[in-house]
Amino acid sequence: MGATTAAPRRTTAPSGRDRNRLTTDPHRRRYGGVRDLIASLRNPTPLVHLNRVANGHDAYLKLEWMNPFGSVKDRTARYLLEGMRARGELEGRELVEATSGNTGIALAALAALEGIPLTVTIPSGVPEEKLVLLRMLGATVMPTPDELCPIDNPRDGAIALARAIADSPAHRGRYAMPNQYANPDNVRAHYETTGPEIWEQTEGRVSVFVAGYGTCGTITGVGRFLKEQNPAVRVVAVEPQRGHRLPGLKNLEEARAPAILDRSVIDEVVRVDDEPAYAMAMRLFREEGLIVGPSSGAIAHAIAGLDGAATGIVVGISPDSGQKYASYYASLIAEEGEPS
């Protein structure tokens, strides 16, 4: 992937100084551009063993925040844009997408590299940190109140707004929408990278895979790949409760199930409340040294609660880091009070 776009753009003959330039060298972790840092089978994100919080399970978290733009969505954004470019959908157009933040951040970074303007519609409750990152990357941000679409989509206002921007006759096709919720390239990103990485990194011994319901690209793509390698792999989906405060995750009763979700690869759905998810996020910080976002807490909590002693090797996704959630974690710390 990315071979055509990664080609150096040199329009003049190399000068004497350029002749001495270092070439890219992945072994020395020296890259020609930030795009090449997005995880792939040759450059996988780390699997880190959970030594204290997994309730005795032989479990690993896959640290997706080691991607260059900070989350699992870097993979998605790269595949979405490459697919659109291959289909000629980017010609002379701007991008518009609905996102709770991470896809927007990755899209904004990649779009900025290519000089493509990006507008993102964002549901309410997304932390200020993410909005600032998006603005810093040059994206136009449209915060969308939940009640924006009172008649049709009470909880999916951001998606409806992005769709309207893309489809409104007045805009005359000026906008193209990657639509991560319905675009098969989102699934393909995980089927071709995240899934094979996990298979390779566990030497084919992964037996349980745990990921959240969000756009459902990760769970569908990884689940499908792993089950093709070994039908006995158990795929566990983590779903938050209605009205949750776990950015990136979706309760599929209050939000429409994404078109790309393939329930046939999912063996089990685990419902996780906000409180244990945040408590587990704090444990990951304090007992494992992992600075993770709240959704990682939900996934690790589901791992700790897996039944059966003989679960084998468990791999869970850690979608993003805790750096972007200061405003969410502040209340958690406040509950502990001041030192006496």
């Binding site: 449209m142 969308t144 109140p145 009640e147 924006l148 679409c149 009172p150 008649i151 049709d152 206002g157 409806a160 707004l161 769709r163 309207a164 921007i165 489809d167 409104s168 006759p169 007045a170 805009h171």
Partner: protein, 80 residues
């Protein structure tokens, strides 16, 4: 066609729901209490959306009419 004088006008013709409501919400934010906004839309969904929007946000929907596929709304910003 209407007895109301608009302090500001918003052209949402050719915009699909929920863009007209979104743009209107932004425009109302720029008005002072008592001022009136005229909005023109072509998405038929607007006829249902605007009364609900006005109710939710506490704006007065002074008039709603439709002629030749264009819906015209007059909204007055109420004192907070």
């Amino acid at each position: 066609m209407s007895d109301f004088t608009a302090d500001s006008e918003l052209d949402c013709k050719g915009l699909l729901c929920p863009l007209p409501v979104y743009r209107t919400s932004q425009a109302m934010g720029r008005l002072a209490p008592g001022q009136v906004l005229k909005v023109e839309c072509t998405d038929p969904g607007s006829l249902a959306d605007f009364p609900a929007f006005a109710r939710q946000r506490g704006h007065a929907l002074l008039s709603a009419s439709a002629l030749d596929g264009v819906q015209v709304f007059y909204l007055r910003k109420e004192a907070a």
